[in-house]
């Protein structure tokens, strides 16, 4: 994901952690009507206000007159192509986050999409859970922390001396495990998929083995939870993981 400073509704991101059902406005630009119906249905089911546009021309007008919190943009569209559309929008300083979805899933296409100004790129076919997780990640991007300490429940991560403690107990982590936990702690109470972890923690664009992430998360769990402590990382069957942080996480 590109680290672009968020310029929109910062207050919403704070309340989002405690109120998952506020209505974010999402515009889906997709010419496949069947797919569009499924996606808007799923977005509505998850509590978003979803609007659909079937072509780039209509979408551009729509984006200009209404304010959306997120665009889900098909890469290949009739009329204006998705890449051109996003370039036009960025040229007009429309900074709304954009999730690109495309059947063009090769590494080069992905790079082209992100270069044009997309914030994330999801290759079709995808899991609806994956889509929702990415939408959430884009809408509630982690605070650009100048904080040097992350907290989730009784777990404390010090980013300066790179140490992790739970209830005073020092937890020794390998560099990759630290990165994995940091990624989860920056997104508490949110679904993080295996593909997201592969892309962000390992920087891989391929998922070699679906079990791999589970094994690494398992190792991490054994280190951070000891007997008598509440498990912090929850598995979501078929989708990914959620780091449960009871209550507010900010200091």
């Amino acid at each position: 994901m590109l680290a672009r400073p968020m310029s929109y509704s910062p207050s919403l991101t704070d309340t989002a952690d405690v109120c998952p059902l506020h209505r974010h406005r999402i515009l889906l630009i997709e010419d496949d009507l069947g797919l569009a119906q499924t996606i808007t249905g799923e977005l509505t089911h998850h509590g978003y206000a979803a609007t659909h546009a079937a072509d780039g021309q209509g979408a551009l007008a729509s984006v200009q007159e209404a304010s959306y919190d997120l665009l889900i943009l098909d890469r290949v569209l009739p009329g204006i192509d998705g890449i051109t559309l996003i370039q036009n929008m960025r040229a007009e300083s429309i900074q709304v986050p954009v999730l690109m979805i495309s059947s063009l899933g090769t590494v080069d296409e992905r790079i082209a999409g992100l270069k044009a100004g997309g914030d994330d790129y999801l290759a079709k076919p995808f899991d609806l859970n994956e889509l929702i997780a990415r939408v959430e990640a884009l809408l509630r991007r982690p605070r650009e922390t100048r904080e040097t300490v992350l907290r989730a429940g009784d777990l404390v991560m010090d980013l300066v001396d790179r140490s992790v403690r739970r209830r005073g107990r020092v937890i020794e982590l390998l560099p990759r495990e630290f990165k994995l936990l940091e990624y989860l702690m920056r997104r508490p109470n949110r679904l993080v998929t295996r593909a997201m972890l592969f892309e962000e923690v390992w920087n891989y664009r391929f998922v070699p083995h679906s079990n791999l992430v589970d094994v690494h998360i398992g190792k991490l769990r054994r280190k951070i939870d000891v007997t008598g402590e509440a498990p912090l990382i929850e598995s979501v069957t078929g989708s990914g993981f959620i780091l449960r942080a009871s209550g507010r996480t900010s200091p």
């Binding site: 090769t106 664009r205 083995h209 190792k219």
Partner: protein, 443 residues
């Protein structure tokens, strides 16, 4: 155009010939006059007069002449009717009109003349007709006219004929192109073997068409292959759903059928993704990503990624690093290849077996080895294993697309490296032999 150029060249040529010849002729005339003049001046007046008269008498061709005139202007000797007016007696050569003796009344002719005043005041005139030059000019002019006109006409005719023939040939080529564009890809452009530039161009185009036809056939073959490979799992899925709808008695049973169906579908989608990935690797577009890749660090990264999974499966995981080395490679691709090999090894290693990675050297060539204690692939099947969708016979129940090794093979070939499979003590090894590239892979 060609005709005009031809005519201009001819004119230039004739002009040059005239200029050169006329120059030569007038130089000879001048030499002759100077020589005669000097010879006469050396004589005594009496001998000179006699000589002049002899010359007049001898000059049957009426080319050269000499005369002596008294200071009064009366002719003393020689072949001129009168002393030409305005003739400077400075001994230099002048072009002036003269009238010959015995030709009074005729038109005066232009001649090259030198005159000198002698000691007694009389004037010696020596000259020669330049009729030769005039003749030469008119002759060359005539030759030009007679020669150029037919040549121009001929070149015009040849030009018309040649361009007409070219037009006919271009039309034939255009007809062939039109037929190719209509989909007759086996059609070729007409040409004569060993012909001119146009024929060679047509031959090159034909070679290109042959290559395009071959590639299109290949693409068609791949497309057919994919369609065939997907038809199997999709038919299974359809069958499963059909039976599920008809037989499932409870919601739980239906859920199970749907879950199984989704799994089948994911398998098909994974196959498509893997095929696209292989295609992407084969298309040489990412050469720009080549850099010097440290091998030990690459293997350490894969080990860190896979050791937990191997241990989770009760396998012993080993990493042996020889001396570190760098190879020019696309790091992400090479990593993907090694990851696929290790993934296979972890998948196929038997219960409480081992999986190991090693960086070894064969002389100056680094070798990345991924080995496991499994049965490996029988030598007879090794070539086939690199092709698409190969599943080694004893492991067909293991989930996977069967495309891992062909992806590895594509990546290895893309780097100009070599993929090698061998039986080793207590297992099976796949090596990526990082052969030094022959200059092609320089970043």
């Amino acid at each position: 155009m060609v005709c005009a150029a031809f005519a201009a060249t001819t004119l230039l040529l004739f002009g040059f010939i005239y200029w050169q010849t006329a120059g030569l002729v007038s130089a000879r005339i001048d030499d002759f006059i100077r020589h005669e003049h000097a010879a006469l001046l050396r004589e005594t007046p009496a001998v000179m007069a006699a000589d002049v008269n002899t010359r007049y008498a001898d000059d049957l061709h009426r080319l050269s002449f000499a005369a002596i005139f008294a200071p009064s202007g009366l002719r003393v000797a020689g072949g001129l009717a009168a002393l030409p007016r305005n003739l400077a007696d400075d001994g230099n050569l002048h072009d002036i009109e003269v009238l010959r003796r015995g030709e009074q009344g005729a038109a005066p002719e232009v001649a090259r003349v030198a005159a000198d005043r002698l000691a007694d005041g009389s004037v010696l005139v020596v000259g020669r007709s330049v009729q030769d030059l005039t003749d030469l000019r008119s002759r060359i002019g005539r030759a030009l006219w007679l020669g150029l006109m037919p040549a121009l006409a001929a070149s015009l005719a040849i030009g018309l004929f040649a361009s007409r023939r070219t037009i006919v040939r271009v039309r034939a080529v255009n007809r062939a192109i039109a037929r190719i564009m209509q989909g007759h890809l086996q059609e070729r452009l007409p040409f004569r073997a060993g012909g001119d530039a146009l024929d060679q161009l047509a031959e090159s185009c034909n070679r290109m068409l042959g290559e395009i036809e071959r590639l299109l056939d290949e693409v068609r073959g791949v497309g057919d292959g994919i369609a065939h490979d997907l038809r199997g799992p999709l038919s299974r899925l359809r069958f499963r759903l059909e039976v599920g709808r008809a037989r499932a008695a409870t919601q739980a049973e239906l859920d199970a059928v749907v879950a199984q169906g989704l799994q089948d579908l994911d398998q098909s989608l994974a196959t498509i993704t893997a095929l696209l990935r292989i295609g992407e690797v084969q298309a040489e577009r990412r050469q720009a990503a080549f850099s010097h890749v440290g091998l030990a660090e690459l293997l350490r990264e894969v080990a860190e990624l896979y050791a937990p999974l191997a241990e989770h499966r009760g396998l012993t995981f080993g990493l042996t690093l020889g001396a570190d080395g760098e190879v020019p490679a696309d790091r992400a691709l090479l990593l993907e290849a090694v990851v696929n090999l290790v993934d296979n090894a972890v998948k196929f290693a038997p219960q409480s077996g081992t999986v190991s990675m090693a960086l070894m050297w064969e002389g100056a060539t680094p070798v990345l080895r991924v080995a496991d204690s499994g049965p490996g692939i029988a030598p007879a099947h090794r070539q086939a294993a690199l092709g698409r969708f190969y599943r080694a016979p004893p492991s067909q129940h293991v989930a996977g697309t069967g495309l891992g090794l062909s992806l590895v093979s594509a990546i290895v070939r893309r780097h100009g490296f070599e993929l090698r499979m061998s039986d080793i003590a207590g297992g099976f090894a796949v090596d990526i032999v990082c052969t030094a590239p022959s200059g092609a892979m320089q970043p």
